[in-house]
Symmetry: C2
Subunit: 190 residues, 2 copies
């Protein structure tokens, strides 16, 4: 799953893939300056934005999953918090101000080295319109959620947890994982 | 906070720091092949390992904070889950098997582009001994926690939350941030 590296981004020399001293995993190491180029999972921060009894979904204008529906979410940037990342994505994808957010669920997806952190907040004034990465944005009641047209399994799982918690009138914080085994995805909740 | 890059790790050409088309933040972009080198926050996964009424701490044998006490924690690796990362760190730093873990707290630390995810689990058989990165490991009662010799503010905050929850007999999931303003650290809980 690591990206293959060919050159050192510090000195421009070639790199070798080997286990550093005092380590137990292979890393790309510069053949000249010795710099070790670690690679780590990335965080995707996003949110469920509520307005009255509806939630905000965005229809993707970009690949992957062009044309399918998703919760606003995207790669967390350096120098921001997870909640700032979640709110920024709602702003970028749906011009939506999301307030009063709380952590709702966190999923590890190890085969793609991603960790999703999804917040639950309120869509300020109920206002949203498509950003550059969205074909359209809309507010959905539970019975209108396009379950067969959701972009990613983690979005489906997040929404299932949300409506289950709503049914029980008990919003919790959830943690789980989405594992790929052969061609199947296995979803575990801790 | 981004690492300065000089060369493209794919083709070895020089890179320039500029805002890509359809983006709003500067990135390092290869002057030849055009590869965009994104940089994102890293996750530190760790745990509170309980045994009877005590918890496991490790005294660091490495910099930073050599000689100070910490909870087992370290950078999450590609292709693992957060809980696997937390348990692996307990194994590496304290030869400790941690079981029955649940998410306890998550802190963003934006000035160093880190996100801590701390689990709460049980130390199997109460057994631990120092790994390569620890001078010693020990089990502590609350009254014996070396508060003035803890390695990182996020460790202090995690332990404060833990003992507050224990006092209330109500272990929750916590989310917060540690922000640096001038020379002060501000801790916010959402």
């Amino acid at each position: 799953m690591n990206l293959k590296l060919n050159y050192c981004n510090q000195c421009g020399a070639t790199v070798s893939h080997k286990i550093p001293a005092d380590d137990n995993l292979p890393r790309y190491i510069c053949d000249d300056c010795g710099n070790i180029h670690y690679q780590n999972p990335r965080i995707i921060a996003g949110c469920i934005a509520e307005w009255e009894n509806k939630i905000l979904l965005c229809r993707r204008s970009i690949e992957p999953r062009h044309g399918l529906w998703t919760l606003p979410a995207g790669f967390m940037e350096n120098n921001e918090t997870t909640i700032e990342g979640a709110c920024r994505e709602a702003q970028e994808e749906a011009n939506a101000d999301v307030i009063d957010s709380r952590l709702f669920c966190m999923f590890s997806i190890p085969h793609i080295s991603q960790v999703y952190m999804m917040y639950l907040g309120q869509l300020k004034n109920g206002k949203a319109h498509p950003g550059a990465e969205s074909l359209e944005v809309d507010l959905f009641n539970e019975q209108d959620i396009p379950w067969d047209e959701l972009a990613f399994p983690v979005i489906t799982e997040t929404l299932k947890l949300y409506y289950a918690d709503k049914l029980n009138n008990n919003i919790q914080v959830h943690n789980g994982e989405i594992i790929r085994e052969q061609n199947n995805l296995i979803i575990n909740h801790y």
